[in-house]
């Protein structure tokens, strides 16, 4: 308990610490938040609030059996016709800069039993700096095989359009290191990334355990950028393998715990572990019978180039039959 209190106090101090470089950067680049950026941030908040509202008020929810991973993917896709609305946030400490909170919203739709498509909106707020919308992502996952195999592959393709100020750290790749995020937002947002990201999601479930491995390859589509590589691995297990006969919030089967590890592997020009960051994160998911899933991940940096702490949390809700409703909107037959 005292450990948690001490960590919380350290984080508070770090978040409150002003950074001179930040002020200098802001002065050099004009006001820290321009009007269009403010509008985008306001739009992001509106979308996040709207999603939350829809999530709370809509009917036809469904209890999901969500994995606890936040970075790693297993091979399970969204059930066809279901929409999963998810809100996540990453709190990160920053040496040589200000701590930050980077929220993102995900809309995950099961197009078919072998194809899931997902749309992300990213944002961030850096303490003693500005808050801004940082980009969007469109992700697709395809399951090539019909039956379960010893190891199950899923092909992952994502397009990202983000600014250098994006701090959600959904994946770590290449030579991403903590110091990349130390500059003030006014500097970071000048960089624009258009990336294609490919992952091979390998996963296996056995005797209640799930083990997943995701090799990552990313290419910034603007010229003269080499391929970057990364990895994510995870293992998880529910606290109980049998369901109890009655509905309950605190039954052990509702909790899935695990651990994930992720980091960069350099790029095509300099492959390896030098100048890369790596994290180890215990994770837990609580699948509530009231259709909500809560996730928590406490990530610890494993080397000097990593953020010391990445605390992530998320809340999601799955809606069964969303596709049927959408089919009506677009004039499809019921």
């Amino acid at each position: 308990m005292s450990f948690i209190v001490s960590i919380t106090n350290k984080l508070r101090l770090q978040a409150a610490r002003p950074v001179l470089r930040d002020d200098a950067g802001a002065a050099a680049c004009g006001p820290s938040v321009s009007k269009p950026r403010q509008h985008l941030w306001a739009a992001f908040r509106a979308v996040a609030l709207f999603s939350l509202g829809v999530t709370v008020l809509s009917g036809q929810p469904l209890r999901a059996q969500e994995s606890p991973y936040i970075v790693t993917y297993d091979h399970y896709l969204e059930e066809p016709g279901n929409l999963d609305v998810e809100y996540f946030s990453t709190f990160g400490t920053q040496r040589g800069g200000n701590a930050f909170v980077a929220p993102w919203v995900e809309f995950e739709y099961g197009a078919t039993a072998w194809w899931t498509t997902e749309f992300y909106l990213d944002a961030q707020k850096t303490f003693n700096d500005s808050a801004l919308f940082t980009g969007l992502r469109w992700e697709n996952r395809f399951r090539p095989f019909e039956l379960e195999h010893f190891v199950n592959p899923v092909i992952y393709v994502e397009y990202e359009q983000t600014s250098g100020a994006d701090k959600i750290l959904k994946e770590v790749e290449g030579h991403d290191v903590e110091s990349d995020y130390a500059d003030p937002n006014s500097v970071l947002r000048q960089e624009h990334d258009h990336e294609l990201e490919f992952k091979l999601l390998l996963s296996k479930s056995f005797k209640g355990w799930n083990v997943a491995l995701n090799p990552i390859a990313t290419k910034n589509v603007s010229p003269n950028n080499p391929w970057e590589f990364g990895y994510a691995i995870g293992a998880s297990r529910p606290l109980a393998l049998r369901a109890t006969p009655s509905r309950c919030n605190f039954c052990r089967e509702n909790f899935i715990t695990g651990v994930e590890m992720y980091g960069g592997l350099g790029d095509a020009d300099s492959f390896g572990l030098h100048d890369t960051s790596h994290y180890l994160a215990p994770v837990v998911a609580w699948n509530l019978p009231s259709d909500w899933t809560l996730r928590l991940s406490l990530g610890f940096g494993l080397n000097h180039d990593s953020h010391r702490l990445l605390l992530r949390w998320g809340v999601s809700r799955e809606f069964s039959g969303f596709g049927e409703m959408a089919r009506e909107w677009f004039g499809g037959r019921r």
Partner: protein
């Protein structure tokens, strides 16, 4: 000059964002407009039950005699399966009925195999993300439907959440 360049850049970014957004909406619309295979009248809908390999068909249900397996299976069915197969397993536009002779005749092993592998081509996802004992609990509940005549699909005896 700098201001107009910035404005041009912002417009370019907005245009790119709109293109990505439109791609997503169009993909979603195409996917949504596609008829759900499960919704089609398909006499072959139960054929996958016969595709289970012999070893899987003959697998015995380890929870067959467990008195908690049926109520626990019913709870899991309501949570994960009723959205497509209906609350009383009577079927819906999204999934077939499980109260038909084909399912009644199927061995617990065959049902377990279908549950574990899904029928991906016909829209049923695999449920191997549920631990094996939970899948057997669902199979036990489905098999119990055949042996019960009076309102077998009634909701779980205790719908209230217990803390």
């Amino acid at each position: 000059m700098r201001k107009s360049a910035l404005s041009l850049h912002r417009r370019e970014r907005a245009r790119q964002a709109t293109v990505v957004l439109m791609f997503f909406v169009i993909t979603f619309a195409v996917a949504a407009k596609k008829d759900s295979p499960a919704a089609r009248k398909n006499t072959m809908v139960y054929a996958p039950l016969t595709n289970a390999p012999g070893k899987a068909v003959n697998k015995r249900n380890p929870l067959a005699g467990d008195p908690d397996a049926v109520p626990a299976g019913r709870k899991l069915f309501e949570e994960h399966c009723a959205g497509c197969h209906g609350h009383a397993a009577e079927g819906s536009k999204r999934g077939p009925s499980l109260r038909v002779p084909e399912v009644r005749r199927a061995t617990p092993g065959a049902l377990f195999w279908i549950l574990s592998n899904g029928v991906v081509r016909h829209g049923m996802p695999d449920w191997s993300k549920l631990p094996e004992p939970e899948r057997w609990q669902i199979v036990t509940f489905i098999k119990s439907l055949a042996s019960r005549r009076s309102n077998p699909g009634a909701p779980a005896h205790n719908r209230q959440t217990r803390f």
